[in-house]
Symmetry: C2
Subunit: 453 residues, 2 copies
Amino acid sequence: MNKASRLFWPVLVTPKNAVVKQTEQLSRSQKLLTELGLIKSGSNGTYQLLPIAQRALDKCINLVQQNMQIAGGQKISLPVLTPTQLWKKTGRLEGDISEFYMVRDRSGKQFLMSPTHEEAVTAMLASTAPISYRQLPLRLYQIGPKFRDELKSRFGLMRAKEFLMKDMYTFDVSESTAKESYAAVSAAYERFFAQLEVPYVKVQAATGIMGGSLSHEYHYVSAVGEDTLLQCSQCGYAGNLEVLDTETQTCPSCQSTSLSQVRGVEVAHTFLLGDKYSKPLGATYLNNAGKPDALTMGCFGIGLTRVIAAALEVQSTEQQLRWPKLLAPYDVCLIGAKQGSKEQLKTEQLELQLLEQLSAICGAQELLHDERKELTIGKRLMDAKRLGHPLIIVVGAKAPKLELHMCGEEPQELELPEVLRMVQAHVEHKQQLLQGTIKTKEQDLQQRLGHVH
Amino acid sequence: MNKASRLFWPVLVTPKNAVVKQTEQLSRSQKLLTELGLIKSGSNGTYQLLPIAQRALDKCINLVQQNMQIAGGQKISLPVLTPTQLWKKTGRLEGDISEFYMVRDRSGKQFLMSPTHEEAVTAMLASTAPISYRQLPLRLYQIGPKFRDELKSRFGLMRAKEFLMKDMYTFDVSESTAKESYAAVSAAYERFFAQLEVPYVKVQAATGIMGGSLSHEYHYVSAVGEDTLLQCSQCGYAGNLEVLDTETQTCPSCQSTSLSQVRGVEVAHTFLLGDKYSKPLGATYLNNAGKPDALTMGCFGIGLTRVIAAALEVQSTEQQLRWPKLLAPYDVCLIGAKQGSKEQLKTEQLELQLLEQLSAICGAQELLHDERKELTIGKRLMDAKRLGHPLIIVVGAKAPKLELHMCGEEPQELELPEVLRMVQAHVEHKQQLLQGTIKTKEQDLQQRLGHVH
Ligand SMILES: [Zn+2]
Ligand SMILES: [Zn+2]
C-alpha cells in the first residue's frame, strides 16, 4: 500500500506575498502538474517525472503495449544514437535540421539523438538476410525517449524537447498488404484512445517530412492545440487544415458547407510510407519467386508523455486534475481522522478495516492511504481532489458513515458496504475498458461525429 | 501464444565457404546472441535488441523493479539531457571527459547525454522546497538509457556505449541513516542476484570518480571480465584489486595468505556518497530544529542489458544459451511433427491438447510454439536448444510418449501427465524464486564462500 507521508510529491510552495514572474505562458496541465509536484522542469524543454506522474506513465505504457501485442507487434529496442550517415541516404538531412540534436563520438563519427527511427529500423532489416514473404507482415515497436530541439518548446510535457514515444514500424510485401497492417495498427490506436475515454478526432493529415502516401493524426481538441482541424458536421469528415486549401469553404468529402474549425493537440500519427526508406537503405524480402523486392513500410507513433498531458489538459478543471480512469495514479485515496481529534479513536478501527477491504478489491498498489494525521481532513481532502483520484474516501465525523468523493461529482454519505460496492464497480469498469467489452462514451461520440477511416 | 514462424529472429546466415574476417574478439554471449538473431550491432558500440532478447530484458526490468519497490524505491524519470553546467558545479568535468557524449542545443547551451544522474537528481531535489526530516529516507530510482563513449567498447551488451541501467539515489538525514539505506538497497541487490541463480561475488570497491566513502561491486566471474578480484578462502573477504596494493600477499581482513585472483564482470555497483553532490548543488532538508542541512546520499546501479549478457556469458556453452530461469524469454518451447511426416496426423490432436494444457499451466505468453512444420523436428530442436529454452517438448515419433529436453540435461521420454508435472514444477520454482522462499544454489554458494557485507 502507498502511504502519502512517504510519497515524494514536492508541492510547489509559493509565499503568499511573492511576485511571480510569469516568463512563459503555461497550459492548464503544465500548471497543475508542476504546482502539485508531479513533474519538474529540468532545463528548458526537458522534464523530470516524479513518482505520481510516473505511475500514470507506466500505466499508459502497459495499455499501449497491450494494444500493440493485439495488433501483432513484437517489441524491440533501437539505440538513441543513430549514425547521421543513414539519414543522408534517405535525404532527411537536406531540409531544416535545426530541430536535430547531433553529437560526435571520440572518433569524430556523427550521430543523431534520434527524433524518430525509420532509418535505424530499416537499416537493421537491410543488414539481416532478407526475410521470406511468408514471414510478413512484420510489425516491430519500441518504447523510448525521442529528441527534438523545438524552437517553441512549451506547455510542459505537451511539447517537450525530450519525450517518450511508442513507435511502431510495419513491413509488408505490397501496398495492399501494407494497408492491412495500417488498418490493424489504426484499429489498435482507436481502441487505445477509446480506452482512455477522452474524446478524440482522427483526421486526414499531411505526410510532410516523413513521406509516404497516406497519413492520419489523432488529436485532442484544446484551445492550446497547435493544429487547426476542419470538421464537417454533415458527413463526419475531419482533416488537418495543412492538407487543405486554407480558403476551403466546402467539405472535400460531401461538398457541404457545414465546416467548423477547432484547435487540436496531436497525440498520435500514422503513415503509410511505401518504399521511401526501404529503397535507399536496401531493405528487401524474398518474394515467392525467391527474388528480393523492396519492403513496403508503415510507421505509427504515440507520444506517451504527451498523451497523458493532453488528456489532463482537456479534462482537468482550473484547480483539479482529471485522469482517464485507466491512467489515474491510484484508484482510491483513503483519508482518516486527524491525530488527537475527537473522532480519531472511534474511527481507527474502521480505517484499518477499510484498508484491508479496499486492498482486497482494488489491490494494495492502487490504494493511497493519506495517513498524514497531523493535517486536517480538509487539507488532505483538498490535496486529494487536486490530484484527481477517481475515488476519495473519508473516515471522519460521520462514522460509521463514510464520505465518498467521486471525481467530478457531489460527495455522498454512505455505509461501508455501499462504498465497497462503488469501488468494486470502478474496478469492474476498468476491467471492461481493458477487455474492450463496453461501448465507451468515446465510441458513442465517434459514432455521432463519424470519423475518417 | 507465440508462434515461431511469426517471430522476428533473423539468424545470421554465413555461407559455408565464406571467409569470415574477425575484426574484433567476440565473447561467447555476444557471438551466440548475434548469430541467433537476438541482438544486432547498430553502429560501433551500440546494439539493437530484437524480440527474443527484449523479452528477457523486460523480465529483468520487472524483477529489478519488484526488488526496488521492496527496498522502498519510488520510480521517477530523469531526462537523458543534463546541462553540463551542473557537472561543473560538482567538479566532474575537470578530469578525463573523453567518455562523455556532449551536445549543444540551438541556443548553444551544452548538455551531457547522461552517463549517470547524480547531478540531475540532486539538482532536482535542490530546486524543490526542502523536505522535512520526517519524509526521509527518500529512495528514488529510474530505468533508462545511459551513454559512455568507451575507448574499448566490446563484447556486445557487456560493454556497450549505450546501455540500459537501473539507477537509484537515496537521501538521508545523516551518515548513519544513509548506511541503513545502503543496507536496504544492498539487500535488494543480493536478493535480485540470488533470484538469477548465477554465482556472483560482492567485493569491496574503489569509489573512484563517483566519490564517497564506501562502495561495493557485484561481479560475475568470467575470463572476459575486465576487473581483477582478490578472494580469501579463509575468511571470505573479496575485493577489487584496484582498492588494494597490487603486491598484496595477505588478506586485508584475516591476514591469511590464502588469496586467489579471478577476473570479474561488474554488473552492479553501490556507493555511499555522503554530501559530495548535495553540498555543491545545495540539496538540503529541514532538520528537527527546522534548519536546512545537506542531504546524505547514496547511489546504486545495475546494468540491465549488461547483467543479462554477463549471465549468459558465464552460463552458456559454446553452442547453446543458458538463461537464468527468471529471464528466459519463454518457459516452454513445443515442437510438433513435420508436415507430411507419417506421425503428423496421429500427433496433431496431442499437440493441440498440449498447447491448451501448457497455456493453462505457464500462461500462453510463456509458451513458444515452433509450428514451422516445413522444418524437420531435428532442425527445430537444434534451434530450440541453441536458444536455451528451459523446457523443450517434442511431439513426434514416440507419441503418445513425449520427449522432454530440460536445459542442460539428458532428454527424457515421458507420458503427458509427467511432462505437465515437470512444467508445473518449473513454474512453481519460478514463483518461489520470485517470492524469495527458497534457498537458492547461489545463497548456498555465498554462504560457502562468505562475502563482504
Ligand atoms: Zn462533409
Ligand atoms: Zn581473509
